[in-house]
């Protein structure tokens, strides 16, 4: 048989292209769709201070093939840069730092384009923003002057561009993502094990018919057939038997389910060499996991309940499809079927048939939603593939940055501080790690001290650039009382120790984390942080806070 197929249809050699080979290890994570999003992206880095963390981030974006980048950096390369920044060498001394960095970064990937500012024709950040093609994401590193920061914030608002702030000093760092509005993600890549949705408690007619056909004479099947019934069929069959003796009701409580599991287990044949049947073992193991009524997952609930404040946003493909899915859910009390069947013990032919029954139902659900989408204003031009992807991932759709700015940033910081400090008091009892908010607070007072960046060879002179006391005074303005907290005081001393300088390791580590987040935002795959990540290089751990 194999030989005949081989000779009839000589397979066409679809070897991978040069580019596919180069990007193979990442295409396995974000596929061609993610890659093309990366290749269309245009990133701006506004660099300052000792200037490493942003460059390390760019390295991690240039390598996978980001479309283009620009670096704005007013500094000239000095001796201290060479001890901390890998993308500079002795020949760069005295030259424009942005130019040197850009040139050495471009060596990493000939497919990427890069430009630097200030240059002969464009000098001010304002003109860069005005004259460049729209940036997909803008990153800036601290310390940044308040004037430049407000330029970037205005740009972000105007163009709906995500802004990423990064601050790395000594053993500490944090970065913060400011998204221009609610940021939905469909392709969240949930864990394989979490995605099984078999609808055993609400089977549709085709599935019931197929199952009955295979199991109507279950006790008289020969051992081979019996031992190869897919567990889906086994469970559907015994659920009917259960209902017959339980007023037509499915097992609902934990006790019911364990009793039902015993019923399934005892139905396995044991008069064989193994003393049991693998497919019945699989069925028993799946009882608690799969006998669940459809419910609305919290991520999607948030999407359904989201109050739009922006009419433009509301007309986007995502929100139109979300609306159609909500209508579907209201009507059927379940989500569209994802259609994936996990591998299970079964004969090849039976498994493939079962698989196509699930696939057909998934297609039918998606078609119904597509029809609803088409009937809605703005729904005519939506790509059916987008609808299909939504249907497949509906249970795992996530909304980042959903709660809008009802309270001010400053108030929110104080509220979070209250909460973090109070939970720290019981941390020992609850065995939870201590908050890293003190690190964020201690870095804040230096966030705009552009003069702090000093490469004086006298370490003690640098130490005097800012003292722990000065930092604590700044903290007191942000969160009154926090300056008394022992851990904030320690963090302030650690920040003062760095004197505004970066450690290469912490910059590289933070640059890796920021690059991961940039990739998630650009490809709209996986789930980005919401919205601040603090890293502690002394304890080697991080914490994500919503600030």
């Amino acid at each position: 048989m194999t030989e005949i197929v081989m000779s009839q249809t000589p397979p066409i050699l679809h070897g991978p292209s040069e580019k596919e080979r180069k990007y193979d290890r990442q295409l396995r994570l974000w596929a061609a769709s993610g890659q093309s999003a990366l290749e269309s992206a245009n990133i701006l880095l506004v660099n300052s201070g000792s200037g490493v963390v942003g460059v390390e981030t760019l390295k991690n974006l240039v390598l996978p093939g980001i479309g283009r980048f620009a670096i704005y950096d007013e500094a000239c390369v000095n001796e201290a840069d060479l001890g901390v920044n890998f993308f500079l060498d002795d020949s760069c001394l005295g030259k424009s730092r942005s130019q040197s960095l850009t040139e050495l970064l471009l060596e990493l990937n000939p497919e990427v384009q890069g430009t630097w500012y200030p240059n002969e024709s464009v000098e001010a950040l304002e003109s860069v923003l005005a004259s460049s093609p729209v940036f997909t994401v803008v990153m800036y590193t601290h310390p940044i002057s308040p004037k430049q920061l407000s330029l970037l914030e205005a740009y972000g608002q105007e163009h709906k561009t995500p802004l990423v702030a990064i601050h790395s000093a000594g053993f500490y760092s944090y970065f913060q993502i400011n998204l221009p509005g609610a940021f939905p993600i469909v392709d969240t890549h949930p864990d394989e094990t979490a995605t099984t949705d078999l609808r055993l408690l609400s089977p549709w007619p085709e599935l019931v018919a197929f199952s009955e056909g295979l199991t109507k004479d279950i006790d008289n099947l020969d051992d081979f057939e019996h031992g190869h019934l897919p567990y889906v069929m086994i469970l559907l069959h015994y659920l009917e038997r259960w209902k017959a003796t339980h007023d037509g009701k499915y097992p609902a409580t934990y006790k019911d389910k364990t009793e039902f599991r015993r019923m399934v287990q005892s139905a396995a044949r044991t008069n064989n060499p193994e003393g049991g049947e693998e497919n019945f073992d699989e069925a028993a193991a799946a009882v608690l996991r799969t006998l669940v009524y459809p419910s609305l997952p919290s991520g999607l609930k948030e999407v359904f309940e989201y109050q739009h404040t922006d009419p433009v946003e509301q007309r986007s493909g995502f929100w139109i499809i979300a609306d159609a899915v909500k209508k579907f859910y209201d009507k059927h009390q379940c989500l569209p079927l994802p259609g994936k069947v996990p591998d299970m013990k079964a004969q090849s032919k039976v498994y493939i048939q079962l698989q196509s029954i699930y696939k057909a139902k998934a297609r039918k659900d998606a078609a119904e939603i597509l029809e609803t989408v088409r009937s809605m204003p703005g729904g005519q031009n939506i790509d059916p593939a987008e609808v299909e992807l939504f249907c497949k991932n509906a249970a795992f759709v996530k909304l980042i940055n959903a709660t809008g700015g009802k309270i001010s940033r400053a108030d929110r910081l104080r509220a979070v501080a209250d909460q973090e400090f109070s939970s720290d008091q019981t941390a020992e009892l609850t065995l939870s790690p201590l908050s890293l908010l003190p690190i964020y607070l201690a870095l804040q007072p230096t966030a705009h001290m552009t003069g702090l960046y000093s490469s004086s060879p006298d370490a003690n002179a640098a130490a005097n650039a800012i003292s722990a006391d000065e930092i604590l005074r700044g903290v007191a303005e942000l969160v009154p009382g926090a300056e008394q907290n022992e851990r904030v005081i320690q963090a302030a001393r650690e920040v003062a120790r760095a004197g505004g300088g970066e450690l290469h390791n912490i910059a590289a580590l933070t640059g890796g984390m920021v690059a991961q987040e940039m990739i998630k935002i650009i490809t709209k795959q996986y789930v980005p942080i919401d919205n601040t990540c603090v890293f502690d290089g002394v304890a080697s751990r991080c914490q994500v806070l919503r600030l």
Partner: protein, 433 residues
């Protein structure tokens, strides 16, 4: 800052940011062990070994060079492949086919003035303990569990309680997609890689009979081509997983089988992924994990801040799939770890003229052991096995040979098992009279 500023050529100007941290104590620095005035000099004379010059290795070399280490060695037997270029940033298209260790070392040496990097284009197993003894610190960026276990066992075995310099901290990193881990092993003090083997989930295997008779997934068809069809048809003498011709053969076999069973989804890329067990890898994750490792290296070398491994946490797990999550914890040492669980006890007053039988009798008299039916081996040498019977017969003649005749030397380690002590293996180090 303007370009007409004067740049001092001295080293302190170059390392000012690093020196602020490593030469001055901070709030978490342990004053008992920290000496800021000696750090820079001590680090300059320290020898660090990097194992692996791939995704993590490239980053590790860069990070160590910019952390003040001056004398670095790197071992990697691999040559550069085009699929490395999306993350192994020290390599270019024109380097494809060259040795990773050599290209990486030359690049970092050229870029960072004053650092010396010595490449070794070979396997770690090619070196003996004398080689590993020269380093003060080992940093690993490997993708194979086997190599990790080998270097771990080697470093644990090198520990000699009387020789300070025989303790080599091992820092190990690993990544998969957006996830990774960094850990510090202080041989015989903390849990070792062997203790932590359960942290690596073994690769899920499919029953051979499923492949042979009831395939359901594209992976089943590919594994069938790989495990069964290849052996049967032997289209090439040995399977080279890096040879596109070989992968194409497997792909075509798998595709034909998938068609026979109506199974969708067999592609060239999936074939390659299954056959080579490809783990997705990106620059960003390597950057995180390698830097986490080198951050620990800097802290261990300088004592400028507490490091992983002592006294509590020794392991950091990192996941970037869903938001960012780290879990930093203490992985406990296992008492019954076959590598670090039990150090060899010295067995004094052994006479090299003893027969093996006399040695075994002396073991039976030792209070802690009281072995009734001991089986005994040395590395690469089966001395006497009580079981199975065939092996017992084969090794019985050794009982009447002297230790010298058997090639045993002073300081040699022997491993003794006995059915009376099912869970324990006794290790002794012979000390000749």
């Amino acid at each position: 800052m303007t370009s007409d500023e004067v740049y001092p050529g001295s080293e302190p100007a170059r390392w000012v940011y690093l020196d602020r941290i490593r030469t001055r104590p901070g709030p978490f620095t342990n004053p008992d062990v920290f000496d800021g005035s000696a750090v820079a000099k001590a680090m300059e004379s320290m020898k660090v070994l990097v194992i692996g010059a791939g995704g993590l290795g490239c980053e590790i070399l860069k990070n160590l060079a910019l952390s003040g280490f001056k004398d670095i060695h790197v071992i990697d037997m691999d040559t550069i492949d085009i699929s490395n270029l999306n993350r192994q940033f020290l390599f270019r298209q024109a380097d494809v086919g060259k040795f990773k260790a050599e290209v990486a070392a030359a690049f970092v040496e050229k870029r960072v003035k004053g650092v010396k990097i010595t490449p070794h284009n070979c396997k770690i197993q090619n070196f003996d303990e004398d080689f590993y003894m020269q380093f003060q610190l080992v940093v690993c960026g490997l993708d194979s569990i086997e190599a990790r276990r080998w270097i771990n066992a080697t470093l644990v075995n090198m520990v000699d309680e009387d020789v300070e310099d025989s303790y080599k901290p091992l820092i190990d990193g690993g990544t998969e997609g957006f996830k990774g881990q960094a850990r510090v092993i202080l041989p015989t003090v903390t849990s070792c890689i062997e203790c932590q083997l359960d942290m690596h989930a073994p690769r899920a295997a499919v029953p051979l009979c499923t492949l042979a008779s009831i395939p359901r997934q594209p992976e089943h068809c590919i594994e069938w081509a790989h495990v069964i069809a290849w052996d049967k048809e032997k289209p090439f003498p040995t399977l080279d997983k890096d040879d596109p011709e070989h992968i194409t053969w497997l792909y075509q076999k798998a595709l034909a089988r998938a068609r026979e069973f109506n199974i969708p989804g067999v592609t060239y890329s999936l074939t390659q992924g299954v056959v080579k067990n490809i783990i997705p890898a990106i620059a960003a994750t390597n950057s995180v994990i390698a830097a986490a490792c080198c951050n620990e290296a800097l802290k261990i070398a300088s004592n400028c801040a507490p490091f992983l491994g002592f006294p509590d946490d020794n392991y950091m797990m990192y996941s970037g799939n869903d938001s960012i999550y780290t879990y930093t914890f203490k992985h406990e040492r296992k008492d019954d770890c076959p590598v670090c669980g039990q150090q060899a006890r010295p067995l004094p007053n052994v006479d090299p003229a003893w027969t093996l039988r006399e040695l075994l009798d002396s073991l039976a008299e030792r209070p802690e052991a009281q072995l009734k039916k001991p089986s005994v081996r040395a590395e690469g040498k089966t001395l006497y096995m009580q079981s199975p019977p065939g092996l017992e017969a084969q090794t019985r003649p050794n009982l009447d040979k002297t230790l010298t005749e058997l090639g045993l030397v002073d300081g040699q380690e022997i491993a003794v098992t006995d059915p009376a002590f099912a869970t324990v293996t006794f290790k002794f180090r012979l000390r000749f009279k």
